[in-house]
């Protein structure tokens, strides 16, 4: 039993050890700062600068959050506060299904539906940050919605009744009482959404055009950390291959950071709960 439980620990240790050990040569030769902040990714000519990819990932994340986070939280508010019971029992599984659709299907949908729309609205190739952000926004929405909804539904009924009894409208009660009480859960949901957006590979790979350049226009190809790994893995060798492990190491540290932020929020919530 304990051995089975330890497998998870061994797995994580193995991944970290293996990725870091393989990435080490390129990190020491190029230098960590030069690796992350170098402005050119041209691996076949020995240029291993991640900044264009970091900028691409950041642009996608920003766009996805700007659209997906408010929509996700609002949908959660709708489900827990406004939605009739019977409709909610229909919508819940629908949102879960949205979370279960394989990312390659989102990518395919983006490729055939969203890219042409972006092309005709913004010009250019259509592949790029806007198409990627739109698809990612749809993909993080169910995560944000279901975790936020759980947090909102955990707020005691008395809080709402108290707000209403003081003469506040329903929206005032939701906005000033319910949402603040569920705040740490909502933050956690967005952190999880960030994790999903940063780590998403296939859907992004299929709609951003995959050119490792800084994002400049809505419909111009860019690249991201994850999709670049997927793309180069097929043929990379030597320093190029170790550089991909360097990207994987960076992604692992981002993941660790997000897990840390998530735990901090949960702990703070627990402390606040005791104080009440």
């Amino acid at each position: 039993m304990a051995a089975a439980a330890a497998t998870a620990v061994v797995g994580v240790a193995l991944i970290f050890a293996f990725v870091l050990q393989t990435a080490w040569p390129v990190l020491t030769r190029v230098g960590i700062a030069q690796f992350i902040f170098g402005d050119t990714w041209y691996p076949t000519r020995g240029r291993f600068g991640l900044l264009p990819l970091v900028a691409g990932s950041a642009a996608l994340l920003l766009g996805a959050l700007l659209l997906g986070a408010p929509a996700g939280v609002m949908t959660a508010i709708f489900l827990s506060e406004y939605c009739p019971k019977r409709l909610a029992s229909l919508l819940r599984p629908a949102i879960d299904l949205l979370a279960g659709i394989p990312s390659v299907i989102y990518g395919f949908f983006g490729l055939i539906s969203i890219v042409p729309i972006v092309r005709s609205v913004f010009g250019g190739a259509g592949f790029g940050p806007v198409a990627g952000s739109l698809i990612l926004a749809v993909m993080i929405l169910p995560t944000i919605t279901s975790v936020s909804r759980d947090a909102l539904e955990a707020v005691p009924r008395d809080y709402r009744l108290g707000g209403l009894a003081l003469g506040a409208t329903q929206w005032r009660t939701v906005y000033d009482v319910v949402v603040p009480s569920a705040w740490s859960g909502i933050v956690t949901s967005v952190v999880l959404g960030v994790g999903r957006a940063v780590g998403e590979t296939m859907a992004v790979l299929m709609v951003i055009g995959n050119a490792p350049r800084f994002p400049r226009a809505a419909g111009q190809p860019i690249s991201a950390l994850t999709s670049q790994v997927a793309l180069d893995m097929a043929y990379a060798s030597g320093d190029h291959r170790t550089a991909l492990f360097g990207i994987a190491a960076l992604l692992l540290f981002i993941t660790m950071g997000l897990v840390g932020v998530g735990r901090l929020t949960v702990r703070r919530q627990a402390r606040q709960g005791r104080r009440r």
């Binding site: 039993m1 304990a2 089975a4 439980a5 330890a6 998870a8 620990v9 994580v12 193995l14 991944i15 293996f18 990725v19 996700g72 609002m74 949908t75 709708f78 506060e81 406004y82 939605c83 919508l91 629908a94 879960d96 299904l97 949205l98 279960g100 659709i101 394989p102 990312s103 390659v104 299907i105 989102y106 990518g107 395919f108 949908f109 055939i112 749809v138 929405l141 409208t169 329903q170 929206w171 906005y175 940063v198 780590g199 998403e200 590979t201 296939m202 299929m206 994850t226 999709s227 790994v229 997927a230 097929a234 492990f245 994987a248 992604l251 692992l252 993941t255 660790m256 897990v259 735990r263």
Partner: protein, 276 residues
């Protein structure tokens, strides 16, 4: 009066945003069904692709996806349930359980492409498994272990304490109680955990692209490689075979939908037994 207007606006906005989220789901599913269903023959499921226009079906991919998913289930099932039993029944709160939880959280957040890169370097090259169903299944097992672990643990914890007390009171040992009383009671919810893990494994692309490989042959042994439905869809979509791609997407969607419905049905049964 303005507070009434604000209240009404907020209510309308909540309905509109939630409606838009559901509309996105309907558009994605609708488009795949409308474009995939006409021209869909049952022979698509039982023949191999051939010819320059990718005529024929996806039989080898269905075999590869099913084989991969089944093997993943066989690996991650015992490990995940064993770990969950340890965490929920035997361990309490000690250093190992805290470490396991942290590891599981981290593993849950690691991007799938990092698993893919790790699987390629570790299972395919280092352990010399080559592109194979086994290498893919081991990679997927690491990826879905956290889901398996968390849902199983919740299932075990949801079994009422009175069950355990009754069994222990009759003179059963703790191990007998776990095996004969707690686990059978937690079974439906545990099955849900398995189905959710299976759904993720079945729909995954990035982690299997370079571990199970892309050869469109029918794999019969764990050490043979194969191309999953998801990888097939990716290759078709990015090389311009849009019509067959729609059909593959339809098959994928149907499988994921039935997994979801099955999981929902089992969970509802479980809830009825314990909560109502």
């Amino acid at each position: 009066m303005t507070r009434r207007v604000a209240d009404w606006t907020a209510r309308a906005a909540a309905w509109a945003v939630a409606g838009a989220s559901i509309a996105v789901l309907l558009v994605i599913i609708g488009q795949i069904v409308i474009r995939g269903l006409p021209g869909f023959r049952l022979s698509f499921l039982v023949t191999a692709p051939h010819g320059i226009k990718m005529e024929g079906g996806v039989f080898p991919m269905i075999v590869a996806s099913s084989f991969l998913t089944l093997l993943t289930l066989l690996i991650v099932g015992p490990v995940g349930i064993g770990a969950a039993v340890y965490l929920a029944e035997f361990a309490g709160d000690n250093r190992l359980t805290r470490l396991v939880r942290f590891a599981a959280d981290t593993l849950a957040g690691v991007p799938s492409i990092v698993f893919g890169l790790f699987g390629l370097a570790f299972f395919v090259y280092f352990l010399q498994m080559g592109y194979s169903i086994l290498a893919g299944a081991l990679t997927l097992s690491m990826m879905v272990l956290p889901t398996m672990l968390r849902v199983s643990e919740e299932a075990i914890r949801a079994v009422p304490a009175s069950y355990r007390e009754g069994s222990l009171g009759l003179g059963a040992t703790r191990w007998q109680t776990t095996l004969r009383v707690v686990l059978p009671a937690a079974m439906p919810a545990m099955a849900t955990a398995l189905i959710l893990s299976v759904g993720r494994a079945f729909g995954e692309t990035a982690a299997v692209l370079y571990t199970a490989g892309m050869t469109p042959s029918t794999p019969l042994l764990p050490l043979e490689g194969g191309r999953t439905l998801t990888v097939h869809l990716y290759l078709l979509a990015t090389t311009g075979y849009i019509d067959p791609a729609y059909r593959v997407a339809l098959v994928l969607l149907a499988v994921i939908l039935s997994f979801n419905l099955l999981a929902g049905w089992l969970m509802a049964r479980f809830r009825r037994r314990f909560v109502a």
